[in-house]
Subunit: 252 residues, 2 copies
Amino acid sequence: MRKIEIIGLRDFPEVKTGTDLAALIVQHCERTGVEILERDVLVIASKIVSKAEGRIVDLRQVKPSEKALNIASQTGIDPRLVELVLREGEILKVKKELIITLTRHGLVCGNAGIDYSNVDGTGTRVALLPEDPDKTAREVRARIRELTGKNVAVLIVDTCGRPFRRGAVNFVIGLSGLNPFRSYVGKRDRYGYTMTRTAICIADEIAAAAELVMGQGDESIPVAIIRGIEYEICEECTAKDIVMPREQWLFG
Amino acid sequence: MRKIEIIGLRDFPEVKTGTDLAALIVQHCERTGVEILERDVLVIASKIVSKAEGRIVDLRQVKPSEKALNIASQTGIDPRLVELVLREGEILKVKKELIITLTRHGLVCGNAGIDYSNVDGTGTRVALLPEDPDKTAREVRARIRELTGKNVAVLIVDTCGRPFRRGAVNFVIGLSGLNPFRSYVGKRDRYGYTMTRTAICIADEIAAAAELVMGQGDESIPVAIIRGIEYEICEECTAKDIVMPREQWLFG
């Protein structure tokens, strides 16, 4: 058998603006007896990256523009939230209770990924997605190496809905240290047939796998370690590599 | 820590028309020392379901219609394959080398999921997707219970591309025994905030996780066991529950 483990780091400490995430992860692993190993993939919920980077906004401080007020009345969404959505993403579709946006990361998701949950319980502060999660992934990866001597890959992830399918799943928005694709083009299958087109986005599959332990509720876990995956180390790869260029979109 | 394991069943035997898949899985587990446990999720590649159900077609036996010849000349795809695609799905988009279809299972994917790889190496026989994978999942689940006494959940999966993202990932096309969603609506987050809309499609996340061990190449593994997932047992749930009704599509 071939085996992969998904390990969720329970009771992860509170993250505040300025928290050194890599150091916190390393300390928490030491304290809870989880060893970080060479080639582990660390999956980090965008929410704690947003917190560490001070991307929490109090809606009471936001003054909605005319445009935001308009869209708010169409959708029934809080105009202050709409204002933030307009600042954070490009609007693709507007429906009742739903604004579908394209974010600066290339993610197509509701409300530019801005979210009330797991912020502080007030319901008035929201988390914006991290500004540059690829950069953060690179920094966390370098710092983990500095602290532990181990080469790991780092993914920053967020849940998002999909066209044609009900329910959200986890997607990668920041990446460092691994090739997000496993390509079979030119490789042979079990029967010797040479495959012509299959490339699998293992990065999004790892993100999805991690969500299964991370969860979203009161026992949610913001960091998971995925162990035992065969992947190609890639120094220059980013989550942007997963984004389909807009001119190739078949649905829009 | 919270832990999930993804176990791939290596050296899985050849599947032929009429193979009793559940019995083969149970025998293979016994032979290789993998115990099937209560609440395991068995993930089965659609390819071996297609084989067991005789859904392999020799392209030399297919006579393309006028319509198929037309689309073949537009796309550069083998007219006999196009003919099968027309029989198996509804065409949504036609592009060079690519026909996007809606299958009878509700999956939006290229070429109605018809595939040359891991069939028999000839490159002239292709596998159609299983006819009714929800039914197959129910049957396999019942038979596993009969043979082992264990209650498991069963997913039948296939890789498929996505809008807006590069690379394919695994999706569920047949399901039995588990609620495909984990809903947080009305539940509280870590900070006591009551969540209003998040439902996660854990079934597709489990499928994606399984692909990481299954792979597509010469060491591909058609069956994986996912162990340690918290899920709600559901007798009547199917993969159709994941399909977004067409009138709700925002992109089309």
